[in-house]
């Protein structure tokens, strides 16, 4: 990290140095049309990564930030889904697993509307995109209007939300369900353990992991989990990615996923107002989703939102950072905001060595300080919680989190995630969304409320 921040001339102001380091990561990881999450571990375009990256990239180049979202949306399926990976066709298949020849999107997904040219995965990630598009637009409205950015992306973002609300309402109660642990973005969270136990893993010799080429095995999901991920994805693929026909052995309503859908519906409303279109449908959806989120996923006793297992129709008895992210939602009942703040600042999520909330309850039975989403603290969830704190005018807590965020991002070389027990960096370094969200916290000077 030293070389990154110090070249060519050291500067006096720490924030300026950090801003330069973050910008450097984003310039280094830019491919011409989008940004790779990491040059080593993640060489393609990832869906929610691109959204978080665009939120920071807008401060470096509004045009690049727009391109980031546009290139992702170019991989959108005709049924509205935004795939969680858009593959770089210039790379060999073994650059990442599962590779294009596993997903076979253009063939297996043809009837579901997968693009004929771009190869993508068939599953999705959390809907941060409309929020990102709105923030990107706000960064440079003149450039946005010149490029007709909103006119081009808003119909696609609406189709994306329509897909989630129509095809993914697997619980029948009006929330979007995820059908694979990779979809909520927190791949190996203990929240999925029980549901995954029902899944017969794919045999270990049926797949070749690529994540272990660069990642440390202790930081990554286990082989057993990986076998189940492969089984679920293969079954979905073999059903033609048809949400009507597929039999979902794994289906969960995730609080972070749905909270982001709410905020993104509000962003669509804001963008509709900006373009003179009707915003009421999006406002009404956001309100309805908020009511359902509280009714279906709030656990009053535990003071946190829980995931709901659609198969058993029961709340998952685990406390993860996903359950704190709904703090983002502006219209939460005040007592829920209070309870969430208590939980956030209580012993389960106050880590000894980081100001960021760990991904999983520090006192939980499955806590693992190293392993991906089973304990490590992540910068994207910290950014979302920061926005949530600001949304509810919890300014002192927001300022403390912001300060911890930028300090730790710089000290860890913009790490992918942080060990909550030691504060040490884990996973990839020079990780794009960590750099992007650092840049956002350093640069977003204007008062920018959640839409």
């Amino acid at each position: 990290m030293k070389s990154l921040l110090d070249r060519p001339a050291p500067t006096d102001a720490a924030a300026l140095t950090l801003r330069r380091g973050a910008a450097r990561v984003l310039i280094d990881n830019w491919t011409g049309t989008s940004t790779v999450p990491s040059r080593t571990l993640y060489p393609h375009q990832w869906s929610w990564d691109s959204a978080f990256i665009a939120i920071g990239l807008r401060h470096l180049s509004a045009r690049r930030a727009q391109r980031e979202l546009e290139s992702l949306l170019a991989g959108q399926w005709a049924d509205g889904r935004i795939p969680h990976i858009v593959f770089n066709p210039a790379l060999p298949y073994d650059a990442y697993f599962p590779s294009p020849d596993f997903w076979r999107s253009s063939a297996a997904g043809r009837s579901a509307g997968a693009p004929a040219a771009a190869e993508t995965s068939g599953i999705v990630q959390p809907p941060v995109h409309a929020l990102a598009a709105w923030l990107v637009h706000r960064a440079d409205p003149a450039e946005s209007r010149r490029r007709s950015f909103l006119h081009r992306v808003v119909p696609r973002l609406s189709a994306w939300h329509n897909y989630l609300l129509a095809r993914r309402d697997l619980g029948g109660a009006g929330l979007a369900a995820v059908v694979h642990p990779w979809e909520p973005g927190m791949d190996n969270s203990p929240c999925w353990d029980e549901a995954l136990r029902r899944i017969e893993p794919a045999p270990r010799d049926a797949f070749q992991r690529a994540d272990l080429d660069h990642g440390h095995p202790a930081d990554r999901p286990t082989d057993l989990d990986y076998g189940r991920y492969v089984r679920l994805a293969a079954d979905y693929r073999d059903a033609g990615y048809d949400d009507g026909a597929a039999r979902f052995d794994f289906a969960v309503e995730d609080p972070c996923f749905n909270a982001l859908l709410i905020v993104s519906e509000r962003a669509l409303a804001a963008m509709a107002r900006e373009t003179g279109a009707d915003a009421t449908v999006h406002t009404a959806r956001a309100e309805a989703l908020t009511r359902r989120l509280v009714a279906r996923l709030w656990d009053e006793r535990a003071g946190i939102f829980r995931a709901r297992d659609v198969t058993t129709d029961a709340l998952v008895e685990e406390r993860s950072v996903s359950g704190l992210v709904p703090l983002l939602v502006p219209d939460l009942p005040p007592h829920i905001v209070d309870r969430l703040l208590d939980t956030l600042t209580g012993p389960s999520f106050t880590a000894p060595a980081t100001g960021l909330a760990p991904s999983y309850d520090l006192r939980g039975h499955a806590f693992d300080a190293h392993r991906y989403w089973r304990g490590p603290a992540w910068f994207n969830t910290a950014w979302l919680i920061h926005q949530g704190l600001r949304t509810h005018a919890l300014d002192a807590q927001a300022a403390a989190l912001r300060s911890a965020f930028v300090t730790e991002a710089g000290a860890t070389g913009f790490a992918e995630y942080v060990d909550p027990a030691t504060g040490r960096p884990r996973g990839a370094r020079h990780f794009s969304w960590t750099a992007a969200l650092t840049l956002d916290l350093l640069c977003a000077e204007f008062e920018e409320p959640t839409p």
Binding site: I27, W30, L60, R63, R64
Partner: protein, 266 residues
């Protein structure tokens, strides 16, 4: 905040002092001089000294000749080197930072007939390294820097990209030679201008600005925030010197640039 400069011929006014007054009002931090041949730049020494005394900030000079140190013709090459040495001496005398030159301009393009230059690539390299060694040594003695400017493929056939300039500079081993980048040429030649700035951060010494169409910044379609953001990232502390053609009312065009660059992240 990156500093801006305007080349002297772009500024209204009969004297450097009058031009400086306009430049400051428009938000510029300096004037970039233009150095003609036949020792013309040296003949201006009294004028330049007086301007310097009067507070005109003139950190750099950009050569304004039709032959250069990479010329095919031996005599023209010799003269170009002598002129550049003189310009380096003069800019040092008035407290400036350095002088900018391309390897050549308008002499040959591999993209235009007859496509094959009369000199081999190896001979080109020898000529350029010989010239750079002499100029760089002179700059070092004078305490200033020679800025080598890559031009686009239609204007020069030898040094088009930052990596080519960097390779030559490293081969000389001289700290007194740095790359003088130009946004317009980079837009044509670099796959990713912002990434090129980062890749050659340690060798970038000067920067000239014009838009994708050679007009003033703001008149074309360059991604200025990305380009300027990259310069911020490397801690660039020189000027952004306006070297361009003008579209629209020329005075207003020149006046518009500092504010435009600032809005774009400078």
């Amino acid at each position: 905040m990156l500093k801006t400069a305007a080349q002297e011929q772009l500024l209204p006014g009969d004297t450097l002092q009058a031009k400086w007054e306009f430049a400051q009002e428009a938000g510029y931090d300096a004037i970039e001089l233009r150095g003609k041949g036949d020792q013309h730049f040296a003949s201006r020494l009294d004028e330049l000294r007086q301007a310097h005394k009067d507070g005109v900030v003139m950190p750099t000079v950009c050569v304004d000749m039709l032959h250069f140190f990479g010329a095919f013709d031996t005599d023209l090459r010799r003269d170009a080197i002598d002129q550049m040495k003189s310009q380096l001496t003069v800019i040092a005398e008035i407290g400036g930072r350095g002088a900018q030159t391309p390897a050549s301009y308008g002499m040959f393009s591999r993209r235009l007939p007859p496509f094959e230059p009369p000199r081999s690539e190896a001979e080109d390299r020898d000529v350029l390294l010989t010239g750079l060694a002499e100029l760089g040594e002179h700059a070092r003695k004078e305490g200033v820097t020679l800025f080598l400017e890559p031009l686009n493929r239609y204007e020069d056939h030898m040094v088009n990209r930052l990596e080519q300039a960097a390779d030559l500079i490293r081969a000389t081993g001289l700290d007194s030679i740095r790359i003088g980048i130009d946004s317009y040429h980079m837009n044509i030649e670099e796959a990713d201008p912002a990434a090129a700035i980062l890749a050659h951060a340690d060798l970038i010494g000067h920067a000239q600005v014009s838009d994708s169409n050679r007009f003033q910044p703001g008149a074309g379609h360059l991604d200025w925030p990305a380009w300027l953001g990259a310069l911020h990232t490397i801690g660039y502390d020189g000027h952004l010197a306006l070297e361009c053609r003008l579209t629209g009312d020329p005075v207003e065009a020149v006046r518009s640039v500092p504010a435009f660059l600032k809005r774009s992240g400078a």
